[in-house]
């Protein structure tokens, strides 16, 4: 088992864990967004979907799996970031972008930490709401609070920024890089980031304007 610990604790091993957990979380975002879009179908449609989801006996296992994915992604990110900060003890007096960095890549830690704060509030508001008898009404009521809706939209902007670098970066870390398809993965990553961010953010905007 020595090789496994050695691999998981290595620099690339940690990055591979970041990439795999991140890409799996991208899959979660797709299913979560698809579910949320039922809100546009009205009270009956959304509550029907939510009931079917919550009655699925595999849901607790999926939720624990999801929690572990998030914990792995966050814990590894903190370990990697600590190592990166440690690697440059004296900062430059002047820094310039040579053309590699993007706003997304340069702010991964900050967008990630904002998303972590959002996740805690989000899970508390919706997953552990005191009254879960009418989930449609609960969501719509929550978004009537302009401050909460604004926080939600800001967090989705951070999510879009995070994915604008994270999606492509995940493939690069896993070694999937070739002139044949890397430009397309980068474009797909940007499109995915925009689609997910706009998709999620559209709901609080629509709900609070109704």
């Amino acid at each position: 088992m020595g090789w496994l610990f050695r691999t998981l604790n290595s620099s690339i091993g940690k990055k591979v864990q970041m990439a795999l957990s991140g890409l799996l979380l991208c899959g979660f975002l797709v299913t979560h967004l698809a579910g949320n879009l039922f809100l546009y179908g009205g009270r009956e449609m959304f509550n029907h979907y939510a009931k079917a989801l919550e009655e699925n006996p595999l849901l607790p296992a999926a939720e624990i799996g999801l929690l572990l994915l998030f914990l792995l992604h966050i814990a590894t990110a903190l370990r990697v970031t600590y190592g990166n900060k440690r690697a440059r003890p004296v900062a430059y007096a002047k820094t310039a972008c040579a053309g590699g960095k993007t706003i997304g890549s340069a702010t991964m830690v900050f967008s990630g930490l904002l998303l972590l704060a959002f996740l805690i509030v989000h899970v508390k508001t919706f997953r552990f709401a005191p009254d879960r008898s009418d989930l449609y009404a609960m969501v719509m009521a929550a978004f009537q609070n302009k401050l909460y809706a604004g926080f939600y939209v800001a967090a989705m902007a951070a999510l879009g920024l995070h994915l604008s670098h994270g999606f492509w970066s995940g493939f690069q870390t896993l070694g999937a890089d070739h002139p044949k398809y890397t430009p397309w993965i980068k474009r797909l990553g940007l499109a995915f980031a925009a689609a997910v961010a706009f998709g999620f953010a559209s709901i609080p905007i629509w709900a609070s304007l109704r």
């Binding site: 620099s11 591979v16 990166n84 690697a87 002047k94 040579a98 890549s105 670098h165 690069q172 070694g175």
Partner: protein
Amino acid sequence: MTEKAKRNYTLKVWRQKDAHDAGRMAEYRAEGISPDASFLEMLDIVNEQLVRKGEDPIAFDSDCREGICGMCSCVIDGRAHGPGAATATCQLHMRAFEDGATIVVEPFRARAFPPVKDLVVDRSAFDRIIASGGFVSVNVGSAPDGNTHLVPHPVAEKAMDAAACIGCGACVAACPNASAMLFVAAKISQLSLLPQGQPERAARALNMLKRMEDEDFGNCSNHGECEAVCPKEIKLSNIARTNREFIRASVCSDE
């Protein structure tokens, strides 16, 4: 031939007596500089003036001054090797800077590159990474017959492109994480692509990457700043190849 108008600059240079000194920025005037002077020649001129005044000249690294040795360094105006693509500091000319400009000159900064003096840092961490596996152990005997080792031309080109790395350390200096992945990736790629590199392929990848971590370099997070400043235009795809080499060596080899 008409002589080009001389230029004047203000330099903000990092001065640090030795590894134990805290260091500080110092300001100097560089006057009467030809736009055709290289950046290092400009520093030579400033140093001559400092020596004449009885002051300690600015210490900086250089050797071949034609962009092939990897000895010169410096982060100039926030960019490793200064402005301009695919050039080392020795290939940078003063015409790249407007007359009257203020130029900030700092050493390559990384925990793995401890300061020696002023702009000079100790890059021997790279030597130790090479010593950990950046070689092939082959009997060099007599020249092999033609076509004994089959290397398709595109593969030979990729290996040659990776082998162009001069080990200057600009990738580390430019990386927001002070990661040495582009350097290590160039060295691993160059050998893993060729038949002669195959026997030690897995051990080489694991040992060189382990040494890289032990030297306290940061982790690559795919910013691509390294590729942007590299004087030899080493591609980020070498890092992806190295990630594959690492995964292959960890999962599929006996190492």
